[in-house]
Symmetry: C2
DNA sequence: CTTAATTGCGTCCATTAGACGCTTTTAAAA
DNA sequence: TTTTAAAAGCGTCTAATGGACGCAATTAAG
């Protein structure tokens, strides 16, 4: 929430933070750190102990510097976290052949894998954000896959948004546990048992799921449904 | 993160908080507040000033009591927020007739409306949560709509999850602004202009969207795609 | 060699959520 | 009616947080 612009620039600091300009004057002491070191440290901390463990103090400790030193490299915590997110996302896989459906499927699966690997990324991708370079690269890659379809640009964006929502939602559900559905069912069990009269369908559906010993593949189920839906549209 | 159980119950406090038991011994001074008053105050505060404005202090001020008094009604802030969410969600609409597709569509649209009306609800529905009574009621309603389909319980749950993800994601994007896409395009404009060589497809797609003067209906676009996909499955 | 930009960071502050324990209220038990 | 103990209200205190500010040390440009 602070402005770190040395010049009277009009862009918000978040944009500047994510899309930095190289200008490097050569006066003054040499920086002891790199912005990238800080971002990596923040991401690593989030990976091991969750996003709440990422405090300026802790990141500074990891790097062996004082807390306030970080502010020479990063305008604030918000920006640091945004950078860590883009760092965790990384570059999209480049699959430039095959039919759009397979490509898009691979795209979504890989995105899901990345986000699941950094569950904290889900906690912070909230609201209208400014995408970082890697995030935009993912978008670009997804749009490339849709190029052979008759969809217009707007529809293509909508398709990617839809896929992103599904990836995010699915990854979110499984964050923190590797058998999320079983866990949820366990949590819900007592509640449903107590109020089975109020929620008969829900109780039945969960019983069904447990009996069927289904694995956690709500993600791919939904993914296929979505791709079916898009296919229906492109076929028109 | 604290345990408020008067008895040595084994359930986590969140469950107890969301699914309270009426036991009301009649000793001691009469409570000056209701849990519901507190929850309403918290939700109202979040509605007007965002989730960050919801502090125990502020809620207490609104109600004219001391901060620590709230802890007699609510185990902690986490639980208060969970309660506020369920409060904001409210009961699902009861549309018990018509084909499953229309019912599900109405269900999703209404859910979208509610969540958009309380944008803060999106910031806090993260990870595996314990659903409150209202949330479960929505689930129940959604499952009811799917009863006429040949899908099994597990698939029905997956469909609802998918829809929920889409609703959440869409509502999230538009939180904080009523023309989110235009806003995003504005934010992205300078970036894309600067790096149009790296993101040609993205630039083109956004240009397409702006030219087409499309309104913000990524939500219903995706919703129809999803329902198409489900229809494909049920038709098999 | 002088100068000015730039770094590292110590100090300070405002805000949080929450623990703990005291006092007061009030219904149940004697 | 008196005694008793459960429960409510909440003042006080603590630890953690993000961040403003300004000073001293560093180092390249002039």
């Amino acid at each position: 929430m602070s402005e770190a612009a040395p010049e009277p620039g009009s862009a918000p600091s978040l944009t500047e933070a994510l899309w930095p300009d190289p200008p490097r004057t050569k006066r003054g002491p040499k920086p002891r750190l790199t912005r990238d070191e800080i971002v990596s440290a923040a991401a690593a901390t989030a990976d091991t102990d969750g996003i709440d463990a990422v405090t300026m103090q802790r990141v500074a400790d990891v790097l062996g510097v004082a807390k306030m030193s970080l502010y020479r490299y990063v305008p604030g915590k918000t920006e640091l976290v945004a950078l860590a997110l883009d760092h965790a996302l990384g570059n999209p896989p480049a699959l430039r052949s095959g039919p759009w459906r397979d490509r898009l499927r691979g795209w979504a699966i890989e995105l899901h894998r990345r986000m699941s690997a950094h569950p904290w990324s889900l906690d912070i991708t909230v609201g209208t954000r400014i995408p970082g370079p890697h995030e935009l690269a993912w978008f670009e890659e997804g749009l490339l896959a849709l190029r052979e379809t008759p969809l217009d640009g707007s529809q293509r964006l909508d398709v990617l948004a839809m896929l992103t929502f599904h990836v995010r939602g699915s990854a979110q559900q499984k964050s923190g546990s590797d058998r999320p559905e079983a866990e949820l069912a366990e949590l819900l069990g007592p509640i449903l048992a107590t109020h089975s009269d109020r929620f008969p369908e829900t109780a039945a559906a969960f019983a069904d799921r447990v009996d069927g010993a289904r694995r956690d593949d709500a993600f791919s189920f939904g993914l296929d449904r979505i791709l079916d839906g898009v296919a229906t549209l492109t076929a028109e």
